[in-house]
């Protein structure tokens, strides 16, 4: 039997679904022109599915810092953080992240995925209990698999269910570690973090919050949902990524716990991979500076999100529960979602197609991510085209 035979079902499902539409796993941009525009199949497309929330990928200060680092320190570190892969810029970025969050220390990872993988799998040891939200990102699930702890899912955004599951553990030894996210990546909903923090305090658990999609967006200083909810003191570990609001790649974890830096010698996804290239570190330091000094970026991303969400809602689409920079349209079925996604590209709009089992509740979603760099004209054009395609495919009622 072929090594790949086990994936026959998945392959057949994808082939049956795609039929005459483009393969979403094979989209290749000819050229990216700006945070909101690219060329695809030789034609211009509006980028509305790139997580580029603050539009910093072409920010002159970020580009200049990146180029300077490239010229001064080369294309890559060619080593891991525990060997030759720590430059002064890596340490400086860690210091800046810690300062930004007001935490004692921060550790950077080569991707956001690895930040969750490393932090969670290392912290949650044998006899510990890891409680993860049912809608957690794949990196949290994979970290759970890698850990030796007992892993329990709690109902999505349900603090009472979390408390109930923690109560079931009464009398059993081991640490309780709760993992939640600021903004959830598929539907764009926020966690009830104040209530989750209250459960954490009551039950004596530890709390990890992944702010990947909320960094730069929520909170007066852009620190994410914990800041917006006023519970930063309850969060034992903040996790985040450089690949969304900060326009590059990489991830981090920050904490006040005195032993946090022990992770540097026990966390395998940190230790046994090459460190981020200097050019990435340079642009992220500049992007963090931009985020810290220009509060209008996050505000603009949110107002653009409300504009898109409001327009689509008015057209009759079924959407995720909140107008955050992730705006998800619920489609009637996977086939219609694929057709809708394909037609939007025909009409010059790139969004994400999200299908089960990658989605909560087996939903078929058209997932947009809104940027501060989008203009009102671009958002209105997207609403108009999505509405027309929605009517054409019977997703929403004809006028």
């Amino acid at each position: 039997m072929s090594l790949f035979a086990k994936f026959d079902g998945i392959r057949a499902g994808v082939e049956a679904l795609l039929g005459s539409v483009r393969n979403p796993f094979d989209v290749r941009f000819d050229r990216v022109l700006s945070p909101t525009e690219a060329l695809l199949e030789g034609r211009p497309v509006l980028l509305l599915g790139t997580n580029n929330y603050l539009g910093l990928t072409f920010d002159p200060a970020c580009v200049e810092a990146s180029m300077r680092a490239l010229e001064e320190t080369g294309t890559g570190t060619t080593g891991s953080r525990i060997a030759n892969g720590t430059y002064s810029s890596h340490a400086l970025l860690e210091q800046r992240i810690a300062e930004f969050y007001g935490k004692r220390s921060a550790i950077i990872f080569s991707t956001g995925y690895q930040a969750n993988l490393g932090l969670i799998s290392t912290l949650a040891g044998r006899d510990d209990h890891l409680l993860i939200d049912a809608d957690s990102h794949a990196s949290i699930y994979d970290a759970s698999k890698l850990s030796t702890a007992e892993v329990i899912r709690f109902r999505h955004n349900d603090p009472e269910d979390l408390a109930h599951r923690l109560r079931r553990l009464k009398g059993r030894p081991g640490n309780r570690i709760i993992v939640t996210e600021g903004i959830y990546s598929m539907l764009g909903d926020t966690a009830p973090l104040r209530e989750i923090a209250a459960v954490k305090r009551e039950m004596g658990a530890c709390l990890i919050v992944d702010e990947a999609h909320s960094l730069g967006i929520l909170g007066a200083n852009g620190r994410g949902l914990a800041e917006a909810a006023g519970v930063e003191g309850d969060v034992d570990f903040v996790v985040g990524t450089f690949s969304k609001s900060l326009g590059a790649v990489g991830g981090f974890a920050a904490s006040d716990l005195p032993d946090f830096d022990l992770l540097r010698i026990v966390c395998r996804p940190y230790m046994f991979t090459a460190s981020l290239p200097p050019a990435v570190i340079g642009s992220v330091i500049a992007a963090l500076q931009r985020l810290s000094t220009d509060k209008s970026l996050g505000a603009r991303a949110l107002s653009n999100s409300r504009r898109l969400y409001g327009g689509l809602e008015q057209s009759g689409f079924k959407l995720g529960p909140e107008p955050n920079p992730i705006v998800a349209i619920k489609m009637p079925d996977p086939a219609r979602a694929a057709l809708f996604w394909n037609r939007l590209i025909d009409e010059g709009i790139y969004v994400n197609l999200a299908l089960p089992p990658a989605t909560p509740g087996s939903l078929s979603l058209i997932r947009s991510s809104v940027s501060s760099a989008h203009s009102d004209v671009q958002i209105d054009r997207a609403i108009s085209i999505m509405t027309a395609v929605g009517r054409e495919l019977g997703v929403i009622a004809a006028r």
């Binding site: 698999k145 007992e150 892993v151 899912r153 553990l169 089960p356 089992p357 989605t359 509740g361 087996s362």
Partner: protein, 89 residues
């Protein structure tokens, strides 16, 4: 139906699982004790995990993900639930 938290034997747990699945599996899918959970129910992996969550509520236990991974058939699942209920007693 027994009160939540009381111990049920494996046969009754299995009957309840099959009854709870009846409204969830696609039409035409017959569920028995030997049905393979991942391949035989016509549900994707997330739908299966969500169903397991309903079982956790029904039997007032938590079924850790590593235990879920070890389970292949409805009979295995019934056995795991019985074991966890006894351990939680």
């Amino acid at each position: 139906m027994a009160a939540q938290g009381s111990i049920l034997d494996r046969g009754r747990i299995e009957a309840e699982i099959i009854a709870m699945l009846s409204g969830r599996v696609p039409q035409g899918v017959q569920v028995s004790s030997e049905t393979q959970i991942l391949r035989g129910l016509g549900l994707d992996s997330v739908a299966i995990l969500d169903f397991i969550m309903d079982l956790e509520d029904r039997f007032d236990i938590s079924i850790p993900l590593d235990r879920v991974a070890e389970v292949e058939t409805i009979a295995d699942l019934s056995g795991a639930i019985e074991t966890l209920m006894r351990a939680a007693r």
